[in-house]
């Protein structure tokens, strides 16, 4: 079965670099046939010029070329575009070269002669990392990632989705807690029934009680009709209680009773109604601290916190930022029925290294702002900088802010470079000695950022 039989036609710009015209012709033909836009260069210098002009999404280069060889070319490319994926082709299965290429940040190392399907699969995998490493489509189509943090989290979430266990999601505002809750619902046996979300911190206590448990006609002033409430509306499905930490203490008692008895009694009613609802709750607060402070009931905390899941901050998963930006570009273009725009490679690098106090929600807003303000097809670095400057950061003392920023930044570059100190130092514009000093100052261990070896 050919590549084209199993994979949808792909899009994206590929620059092929080889000093052998027959290889350039062959690889360009394969790429064009699969739907990619192929550009060619027959030497390293020509390749660097093409990267500036043609803005490829990925580079495929031969290792042995006269003048600038493939390894030098990778270094040059990553000097200006640290996140640009590069696939190396070599006529020799030479392990030291492959190791050097990997250390320099090469995405894949293929030996010539290369088979068409193997070649196209690698290009597709690295130009669109989501195709191989993010959601497989069966769990959370809106969960976009390639990071190990999110892979681990979704694996846990998929497991708990199958059962009927109460799930508690902790994470900062904007990290996508509701997206995860919905993914759990969609993957559960309850998926044919409603998923209903309510923000417990956004509704006044009296209204929230009625909203959740319902009320009888005339139960209180203004209750002109009977209201069944969200527990009953979600019957058979999932009720997502967002910002549960903000729920008033008085209501916490009533919620605890519902979770113990699995029945609700609408306001003004003398009769309880059985419910069949799965509860997924979430908060950005530290509930343990709220329990200690007497602001959250300990018994309710343990009732809700059966399976705890933690959504990472966006800055903890910088390798997902290019994927998420791409996801939002596609989504927003489809919504506006407009031609999809692209970020310039240096703009993507800047996005990946930013701090994102507002997490994914902030990233989406920045992407939308950039799309709105960019006239051409490519969103430049200057636009991203402008969009990010418009977002106020959380206020800290200058010293703390600097320390937080430096530590997060170091973690980000180590993640991007898979723990490779030489590459990380290069991105950070430091020499290795200075970079090691910084790592020591923040007690960071580069080795802990290396992905486990995949034996497959």
């Amino acid at each position: 079965m050919a590549f084209s039989d199993v994979v949808d036609v792909m899009e994206g710009r590929v620059l092929v670099v080889d000093d052998d015209v027959d290889m350039l012709n062959l690889l360009s033909n394969w790429l064009s046939g699969a739907g990619f836009e192929a550009h060619t260069a027959s030497a390293g210098a020509e390749a660097l010029s093409s990267i500036s002009q043609d803005r490829p999404d990925i580079v495929v280069t031969d290792l042995f070329m006269e003048g600038m060889d493939g390894l030098e070319l990778v270094s040059e490319i990553h000097r200006a575009n640290p996140l640009m994926p590069v696939i190396m082709l070599s006529g020799q299965a030479n392990i030291p070269d492959a190791v050097r290429a990997t250390h320099l940040g090469t995405a894949a190392f293929l030996t010539k002669p290369v088979a068409k399907d193997a070649f196209l699969t690698e290009v597709q995998r690295h130009i669109h990392p989501s195709a191989g490493t993010s959601t497989d489509g069966s769990f959370g189509k809106n969960l976009v990632f390639q990071s190990s943090e999110m892979a681990e989290l979704t694996e846990q979430a998929m497991l708990v989705a199958q059962g009927d266990i109460t799930v508690f999601i902790h994470g900062e505002t904007g990290t996508g807690k509701e997206v995860l809750a919905r993914a759990i619902h969609d993957a559960s046996p309850r998926s044919g029934h409603p998923f209903i979300g309510v923000n417990c911190g956004a509704i006044p206590e009296q209204l929230l009680e009625s909203e959740l448990f319902g009320h009888e006609k005339g139960a209180f002033t203004g209750a002109n009709t009977k209201h069944e409430g969200l527990f009953l509306a979600a019957d058979g499905g999932t009720l997502f209680l967002d910002e549960i930490g903000d729920m008033p203490l008085g209501l916490q008692v009533k919620l605890l009773r519902v979770l113990q008895d699995f029945e609700v009694r609408p306001v003004g009613s003398v009769r309880s109604v059985p419910i069949n609802v799965r509860i997924v709750s979430a908060t950005h607060n530290n509930l343990e601290q709220l329990v200690e402070a007497g602001e959250f009931r300990e018994d309710l905390y343990y009732r809700l916190n059966v399976v705890p899941l933690t959504m990472p901050r966006l800055a903890q998963r910088p390798e997902d930022i290019p994927l998420l930006a791409e996801h939002f570009l596609t989504e927003l273009a489809e919504r506006a029925k407009a031609k999809k725009k692209r970020f310039a490679p240096e703009a993507i690098s800047y996005l990946a290294a930013a701090q994102w106090p507002g997490n994914i929600r902030q990233l989406r807003n920045v992407v939308e702002l950039c799309l709105t303000l960019t006239k051409g097809d490519i969103i430049p670095l200057s636009m991203v900088k402008t969009a990010l400057r418009d977002k106020p950061a959380q206020m800290k003392t200058p010293k703390d802010a600097k320390a937080d920023f430096e530590k997060n930044y170091l973690e980000s570059v180590l993640k991007i470079t898979n723990g490779n100190v030489a590459n990380a130092a290069k991105i950070a514009g430091r020499n290795r000695t200075e970079f090691y000093k910084l790592l020591n100052a923040y007690e960071l261990d580069a080795a802990s950022f290396r992905a486990p070896k995949d034996d497959n």
Partner: protein, 103 residues
């Protein structure tokens, strides 16, 4: 097998239009290798063998990859006899092949 016997090579129809150019370049390689051998330019011969080895199989000609590898190694060892044999083997193979589109 006589010199005149044809060797049928099945080629991916998507690249069939590239084949005449690719084979013309290999015919030129035969001449260039012999000229370079006369000039004892083993480095250039090695590059030609290396390129042939890398591209042959991708186009569907595994034999060209194999001949390229032989020429590359022979050039590396400055083995004139081995290079000459490789050029002869390539010339003969090119005269025998018949390309058909893969069904």
């Amino acid at each position: 097998m006589s010199d005149q016997e044809k060797i049928v090579v099945q080629i991916d129809p998507d690249i069939i239009e590239l084949i005449p150019g690719f084979l013309d370049n290999r015919k030129n390689d035969v001449t260039r290798i012999r000229d370079l051998l006369a000039a004892k330019d083993f480095a250039q011969i090695k590059l030609l063998g290396h390129s042939m080895k890398g591209a042959g199989g991708g186009y569907g000609f595994d034999e060209i990859t194999s001949i390229g590898a032989v020429i590359e190694s022979a050039a590396d060892a400055e083995d004139s006899g081995g290079i000459s044999d490789g050029a002869d083997r390539l010339e003969k193979y090119l005269s025998q092949i018949e390309v058909v589109a893969e069904q």
